[in-house]
Amino acid sequence: MDSQTDAELIRGLLAREESAYRQAVRAYHAGMIRFARSMVGDADAEEVVQETWVAVLKGLSEFAGRSSLKTWIYGILGNQAKTRLRRESRTPAVANSTPADGGGQFVPAERFDDSGHWTDPPVPWHEDSPEALLSSEDLRRCLERMLARMSPAQRQVLTLRDAEGMGMDEICNILGISGTNGRVLLHRARNLLRGGVERHERGQPC
């Protein structure tokens, strides 16, 4: 959404117009729930999102427009989630790359020879567009399963970047991580999914 649409929407929300509420809910709510789940888990996600909406409506008149409305909302959501985790003395699903999701290779080492050439190279997929790939219910399930299985930090960066289309700088601000860290997490997550599609293409279990 560009800044003019943002301004229009904000005006409507401040005027408490139902159509503006509807537009905001359609634009943000599903994504907010998804992001909240990856931060605090399924059980608390709904409540954190509701608290976020309260804070958004309350703070909206002071929104300075230095970022997009969406980024501002997700920033509030991220803070609400962290506050809740602290209050319940739970460890945040930290967006720091641990060795498990940060370091090491992105593609398994055994797929290269000693000089770094592919020995087990990627092969073309039968489907070459997102729509065609997603039309397979099987593959869809495989991807959802892989998303659920990756580290919360990887999932957070991946969904904010590729599902919500945010810039890496904004994402790193929201999650409180460095740009290097964010890029590593994103690349790791995309490689995991690429491997999943590849296994699916080869008829192997996801």
Partner: protein
């Protein structure tokens, strides 16, 4: 010369445009001669778009329920 393994390590920074010009040129030269790595990179880009497609719309009745909550906030 960059190896294929090097390329897979740097592809993340390359795709995010977070690479100094010289390193970028190295990746670009490798891609020029390596069909497999071009394919690898294309598949990563495709994955990024596939994730966008996984977004689910909120069912209309849930939209209305949430709108009602906002009205009462």
């Amino acid at each position: 010369m960059l190896s294929c393994r090097d390329l897979t390590e740097r592809a993340g920074d390359y795709l995010e445009g977070a690479m100094p010009p010289r390193a970028r040129l190295g990746v670009w030269l490798h891609l020029l001669i390596c069909r497999v790595c071009r394919l690898y990179l294309r598949q990563l880009r495709l994955i990024a778009r596939v994730i966008g497609g996984l977004r689910r719309e909120l069912p209309p009745e849930e939209v209305e329920r949430q709108v009602e909550r906002l009205r009462r906030m």
